[in-house]
């Protein structure tokens, strides 16, 4: 009973992430890629994403705090982050990156600062949510249950 409830809540939780736009269908792609031969694929990729993004955000903060902002340095970071977030389906981070890049193009320091805050906000949101998601999954696995497959319908 307990297990069924947990599975249900995981499903609801995942669904809410999609409905809130925190994740998009690309995340489903990742889930699809996870199989017996590679059971931790999603969490591996996401963990890599977290490591990578933490570093990028740190670099970005440093770059933007310079007296003279070198946009040639900033832009590739944002591009990188955009690519990564797009790959794991962190839609809102990606969208924030798109705006960020347009400010980089305009060399708008103020705008970039704002965008960095926005990107950070979205990043921590998705990080938080995904960590919760994994925790739920682990709990289910620990109780001997199966991770319910997400339906691709929505």
């Amino acid at each position: 009973m307990e297990l069924v409830q947990m599975q249900k809540s995981l499903q609801d939780y995942t669904k809410s992430l999609f409905l809130d736009g925190v994740l998009d269908s690309q995340f489903l792609q990742l889930q699809q890629l996870q199989d017996e031969s590679n059971p931790d694929f999603v969490s591996q990729v996401v963990t890599l994403f977290f490591q990578d993004s933490d570093r990028i955000l740190n670099d970005l903060s440093l770059s933007l705090d310079q007296q003279v902002v070198d946009f040639k340095k900033v832009d590739p970071h944002v591009h990188q982050l955009k690519g990564s977030s797009s790959s794991i389906g962190a839609q809102r981070v990606k969208n924030a990156c798109v705006v960020f890049r347009s400010f980089c193009e305009q060399q708008n320091v103020e705008g970039c600062h704002r965008c960095l805050q926005q990107v950070k906000k979205e990043y921590y949101l998705v990080k938080n949510r995904l960590e919760t998601l994994f925790k739920l999954e682990q709990q289910i696995v620990a109780s001997g249950g199966m991770i319910p497959a997400m339906e691709l319908g929505f």
């Binding site: 792609q29 890629l33 890599l48 591009h79 790959s87 969208n95």
Partner: protein, 911 residues
């Protein structure tokens, strides 16, 4: 006392705010007249000293000051006040004295009354001669004395005394008493005198007006001094020439003679001085006191702001004689005020910026989303559509009867048109965002006109004649962006047809001299560079009229005709439909190409849209080559020679292809050249070989592949209809495939078989794939996807690594990220293509890539093979598909890469 008060005052003020002195404190060495040092207690009563003090702390022309006080209203009123006050005090003193006198008089009267009473009581008569002085008092005394004497000495014996009148004793007695009387009188007199003197003395002590006035002045002065001592205030009086006659609290280093008798301008130099002088003069002229804030910028005391009050001074005759002037230093206040204003302004600006920024972010987000959506959509639509067109093309090579062929051609044209439209809608947004690039390709204007008309005729549902008329002098072959020109023509023609119900619609082409608006055609220069054309080319301006006999356009609608989403009127929009985008696109495209689009129209008679564009004329050398190729084709095609024909006409043939299946094909409808009647000719060598090897099942995908990855299938279609394009005319993306195709049309060579074998061999083994990607996460995801699809791949992290890897081993497919550090995907692809063409890595080495060249033999083999390179783009404007094709990529997958996309792509290129 005053001192104490002042220090109290100062400390009090210190608590509130440290007020810096108006003048700098370290100014000047000797300060003989520093008003802060000079402080005399007000109690000091020496008048002269007080005057000295006044002289020290103020500065006044003392000779003139009394004058001033005498002659001015203010001065005289003050004096009047003082005098009045003094008079009042004098009156007071007099009144007091009078009262005293009154009291004395009363006392005296009382005394007299008493005496009289006494005398009457004593009833005594006086017969003595009244030879005493007539002084009242003394006479009284004398009388009293006399009475007493009579009483005492004479009494009733008067007559008797009379007898003894001359006796010695009598006289003696009389003398004695008189003496006594005299003594008393003298005593009284003395007392009176004394009293008088005393009175006089008191009078005197009260009566000196000078002393009184001085005291008052002293008090007033002390008060003023006390108030003004530390105040940042300058006061002065200037005569009507604005020369200082008096100044208080002047700048410490200035001496009396520096100021008095001079004007501001003579004393100070710098900003504000002139202004203050003008202001004073203005006040003097207007006769009205007023205030103004003036900032001085002088060498003497730097930048200081004073609030200046100036009032005119009149003499008693109401004539202006000068001004009084008072200035208060408000530098700090002004600074604060300005700071506040600035802060407020900054705040407002910041707020505005903030909202602007939010708006911008919002708009950018929206725009990006819209653009991305558009890009994705166009891609999504384009791919299947090109599949449809491609299939139709292949279908057209099979055995068909004339009717079917006809239908198929229309299908291809329409599909082709939709493809173009999709591209062009994308292009419009690109033109607007400035990303649009023009391509320079060789094309035949006649053919373009004909095709446009043909396509239009194919979908024509009206009784209209379509005609094309091209002047003889129009070159056979010109260089320009044929796709755009075709689009413009198509747009204008369909527009014309839409609004024409009978008569004809046509296109007229002729060469015109260079118009005045053209100045230096950079465009062509650019195009030339891009195209790498080195032949000598001449420029030609061609005017193209698209005319109709339609409803025409009212004059008032002309101005907004080329605006987006605008039609001549709402009625039109309802009646004729359409987005209203067409003409806007045309205009933008024409202008982008350096030309001009105009319109003339008459209601009910028709309209003519005219655009003039510059083209380069291709050299005859190219032309002849092309002709050869063309003649080859002509051998197989008993069609009229399109390349020189100057007039086409398409007459309406309603119903023939739509309503019934009858084999009605008019000779003059669609003077088509149904291409490549023999299937052997098209599906030659290569694909047939594949078919054979794979048991024929690969037929579909193979062809789909061809057209699917070619964004410019329009081109191919044109080629198919008449392969009149030279190789240069092909865009990079399709050049390989189509040129192979073309060569294979004409030459049946053993090379094909050889090639087919290669293909077969390659498909039989695990394909080698190279993933060029810098993002670890993307690599991880791609790896997993590839694994699921059953492939493995090598990884290069940037363009340089990719080039090195490709040099080191041979790959069947490259998946190339566009935006990468060190060397991006576009450049890397160019280098790879250059290597394929030239057989060496010179370009790469030039670009700074360290390449170890391999043996010549391998190079030769490799260079004949075109390595499929698939871009992985983020679908942004900067990573557009066009850019990818232009740089030699074969196709692209939009990011994020999905299993489905990857699968399709691999299917296309690896079988």
């Amino acid at each position: 006392m005053v001192c104490e008060m002042e220090t109290d005052h100062q400390t009090e003020e210190m608590d509130v705010e440290v007020l810096s002195s108006m003048w700098p404190e370290d100014v000047g060495g000797t300060e003989p007249d520093n008003q802060f040092n000079v402080e005399k207690p007000a109690g000091d009563s020496d008048t002269l000293k007080e005057v000295d003090i006044a002289e020290k702390r103020t500065m006044a022309d003392l000779k003139r000051l009394p004058d001033l006080l005498d002659t001015t209203d203010q001065g005289s009123s003050q004096l009047t006040n003082l005098v009045k006050q003094w008079e009042y005090m004098q009156d007071h003193a007099v009144r007091l004295l009078r009262e005293e006198l009154k009291i004395l008089t009363k006392q005296r009267e009382e005394a007299e009354a008493k005496e009289l009473k006494i005398i009457e009581e004593h009833n005594f008569e006086s017969e003595e001669p009244e030879n005493v002085p007539v002084l009242d008092e003394s006479s009284d005394l004398f009388r009293r004395f006399k009475e007493k004497k009579r009483d005492k000495l004479v009494g009733r014996k008067r007559i008797e005394i009379d007898e003894e009148f001359d006796t010695v004793a009598y006289w003696k007695q009389k003398a004695l008493s008189l003496e006594k009387m005299l003594e008393a009188s003298t005593e009284r007199e003395r007392r009176l005198i004394k009293k008088l003197n005393e009175s006089l003395k008191t009078m005197e002590s009260h009566s000196a007006p000078v002393e009184e006035l001085t005291q008052n002045l002293k008090r007033a002065e002390g008060f003023l001094h006390f108030i003004l001592q530390n105040a940042p205030i300058v006061m002065g009086h200037q005569d009507k020439d604005l020369r200082y006659l008096f100044i208080y609290n002047k700048f410490p280093t200035l001496r009396e003679h520096d100021i008095l008798g001079k004007t501001d301008v003579e004393i100070f130099h710098g900003g504000g001085v002139k202004e203050s002088e003008d202001f004073k003069r203005e006040v003097l002229e207007k006769g009205k006191a007023s205030k103004r804030e003036i900032t001085f910028e002088t060498d003497l005391f730097g930048s200081k702001t004073f609030l200046i009050y100036v009032e005119p001074v009149y003499n008693k005759a109401r004539e202006k004689i000068g001004i009084n002037y008072m200035g208060m230093e408000v530098t700090d206040q002004v600074r604060k005020r300005e700071k506040m204003a600035k802060l407020r302004e900054d705040n407002a600006v910041r707020k505005a910026m903030e909202s602007e920024l939010t708006k911008t972010i919002h708009i950018t987000e929206e725009t990006m989303r819209a653009k991305q959506m558009l890009a994705t959509m166009s891609h999504e639509i384009r791919s299947p559509l090109s599949g449809v067109v491609g299939m139709a093309e292949i279908l057209s090579t099979t055995k068909l009867d004339k009717e079917q062929r006809q239908l198929l051609n229309v299908m291809i044209s329409s599909g082709d048109l939709v493809l173009q439209l999709i591209n062009d809608i994308l292009d419009l947004s690109k033109v607007e965002s400035g990303v649009m690039k023009l391509e320079a390709t060789k094309f035949r204007p006649r053919e373009v006109v004909k095709h446009v008309l043909q396509t239009a005729a194919a979908s024509l549902k009206k009784e209209l004649t379509l005609e094309g008329n091209i002047a003889d002098e129009v070159p056979i072959l010109v260089v320009g962006d044929v796709l755009r020109i075709r689009q413009i023509l198509t747009n204008l023609i369909s527009n014309a047809i839409k609004f024409t119900h009978q008569g004809k619609v046509g296109i007229k082409l002729k060469v015109i001299p260079e118009p005045s608006f053209a100045n230096g055609l950079e465009l062509n220069a650019d195009a030339e560079e891009q195209n790498g054309l080195t032949e000598t080319e001449t420029s030609v301006w061609i005017r193209c009229d698209v005319y109709d006999t339609g409803i025409g356009i009212p004059e008032n609608a002309l101005p907004c005709l080329f605006k987006k989403y605008m039609q001549a009127s709402a009625d039109h929009a309802r009646k004729y439909g359409g987005t209203g985008l067409g003409l806007a696109i045309c205009k933008q495209l024409v202008e982008l190409m350096g030309g001009q689009l105009t319109v003339t129209s008459q209601v009910d008679l028709g309209s003519t849209f005219t655009f003039i564009l510059p083209y380069k004329v291709a050299t005859s050398n190219d032309h002849s080559d092309d002709q050869d190729e063309f003649s080859d084709m002509v051998d197989h095609q008993p069609e009229p020679d399109d390349s020189t024909e100057g007039y086409f006409q398409f007459k309406p043939l309603l119903g023939s292809i739509y309503s019934n299946g009858g084999p009605v094909i008019g000779n003059n409808f669609l003077p088509h050249k149904v291409m490549l009647p023999s299937p052997v000719k098209l599906i030659n060598g290569q694909s047939e070989a594949v078919q054979v090897e794979n048991g024929g099942c690969m037929d579909g995908p193979r062809h789909e592949t061809r057209s699917g990855h070619c964004p410019e299938s329009a081109h191919q279609y044109e080629n198919g209809n008449g392969p009149c394009h030279s190789k240069e005319s092909e865009s990079c993306s399709s050049s390989q495939a189509s040129s192979e195709m073309e060569s294979e049309f004409t030459v049946s060579s053993p090379r094909e078989e050889e090639k087919a074998e290669t293909v077969v061999k390659e498909t039989s083994k695990q394909p080698k794939i190279l993933l060029v990607e810098d993002n670890k996460i993307n690599i991880m995801v791609a790896k997993s996807m590839m694994k699921q699809l059953g492939y493995t791949f090598d990884i290069a992290n940037n363009g340089v690594e990719a080039v090195t890897a490709i040099n080191g081993s041979s790959y069947d497919l490259v998946l190339m990220d566009v935006c990468m550090p060190v060397l991006d995907g576009l450049k890397a692809t160019r280098l790879i293509r250059s290597y394929e063409q030239s057989g060496n890595w010179d370009a790469a080495v030039e670009a700074g890539v360290d390449i170890k060249t391999l043996e010549d033999k391998q190079l030769c083999v490799r260079s004949t093979n075109r390595l499929p390179i698939i871009a992985m783009t983020a679908n942004t404007l900067s990573e557009s598909s066009e850019e990818c094709y232009a740089n030699g990529m074969d196709s692209f997958i939009s990011k994020p890469v999905t299993l489905q996309k990857l699968k399709e792509c691999l299917k296309q290129y690896l079988h």
